[in-house]
């Protein structure tokens, strides 16, 4: 069984999703559930903290692709932080850095939302 955990917390007006373990086609629906909850709650400003994520496949990347436009249409965004190099390399290979913002620390991503008002 793939070991994956997702946790949602609020920091001011931003929702922070902590992902942990292995994000693949088996576990991606757990992350989708969290994004669906955010949409239900009209929460569109999201930081995903990857500090404890060990592995991601395209099924995991697809979750962000499915939701980012909705967040942006509602003046929000999905920003990424604390990514390990091996995980970042996959995002990079697929061209994500052109379309998404990556931050070394969660705090920087939160500040960027603050700066955007």
């Amino acid at each position: 069984m793939a070991d994956f955990n997702v946790n949602l917390r609020g920091v001011g007006s931003v929702s922070v999703i902590d992902v942990k373990g292995y994000l693949d086609a088996h576990t991606a629906p757990e992350l989708e559930n969290v994004f669906n909850k955010l949409l239900d709650d009209q929460q569109f400003r999201v930081v995903v903290n990857f500090d404890e994520l060990k592995y991601i496949s395209s099924a995991g990347l697809g979750v962000f692709m499915a939701y980012v436009e909705t967040m942006r249409e509602n003046k929000g965004d999905i920003k990424f932080s604390n990514m390990k190099e091996n995980v970042y390399n996959i995002f990079d290979l697929l061209g994500f850095p052109i379309l998404y913002e990556f931050f070394k620390e969660e705090k920087e991503a939160l500040l960027k939302f603050d700066a955007q008002g």
Binding site: D24, A59, M65, A66
Partner: protein
């Protein structure tokens, strides 16, 4: 016989469900590790195999859990060769478009990256149809 000429062969048969992906990754990891690839390259091979099997589960078997996925790996002449065979719906890889991330984001399109990733991560990716209505994808990584 030096290590680049050694032949390691391994096989794994699993059903077509996503809860087997972790097992598939473990199998790939231990097979690739025997061939002295770097951790970084092992990571690439694991992801390519995961993507290939995910595509089989999703597209060839349409999430039907009773399909078979047969994986065999071998290392010979400096090449790590992983063959993945299924008995699901045939597909023509030539019909799969190059992904356009900007369009996919705009269209809220969640898929379409797996085959592109496999090609980026491996040295060779070959699709074929075998007798008995089987499909096979062969992934190759050179030990450089």
């Amino acid at each position: 016989m030096n290590s680049s000429n050694k032949i390691f062969e391994r096989e794994l048969l699993v059903k077509s469900t996503t809860d087997h992906l972790a097992q598939i990754r473990e199998f790939t990891k231990s097979a690739a590790a025997e061939c002295n690839f770097s951790d970084e390259t092992i990571g690439k091979i694991i992801l390519a195999v995961d993507e290939a099997c995910t595509n089989i589960i999703k597209h060839a078997y349409k999430y039907s859990p009773e399909g078979n996925i047969f994986i065999s790996s071998k290392f010979e002449n400096g090449k790590f060769i992983i063959s993945i065979t299924d008995e699901g719906k045939h597909f023509d890889p030539a019909l799969v478009p190059e992904p356009d991330l900007l369009q996919y984001n705009k269209q809220k399109h969640a898929g379409g990256l797996g085959m592109f990733l496999m090609k980026k991560l491996m040295d060779e990716v070959k699709y074929s149809t075998l007798t008995g209505n089987k499909n096979q994808v062969v992934l190759v990584k050179y030990l450089s």
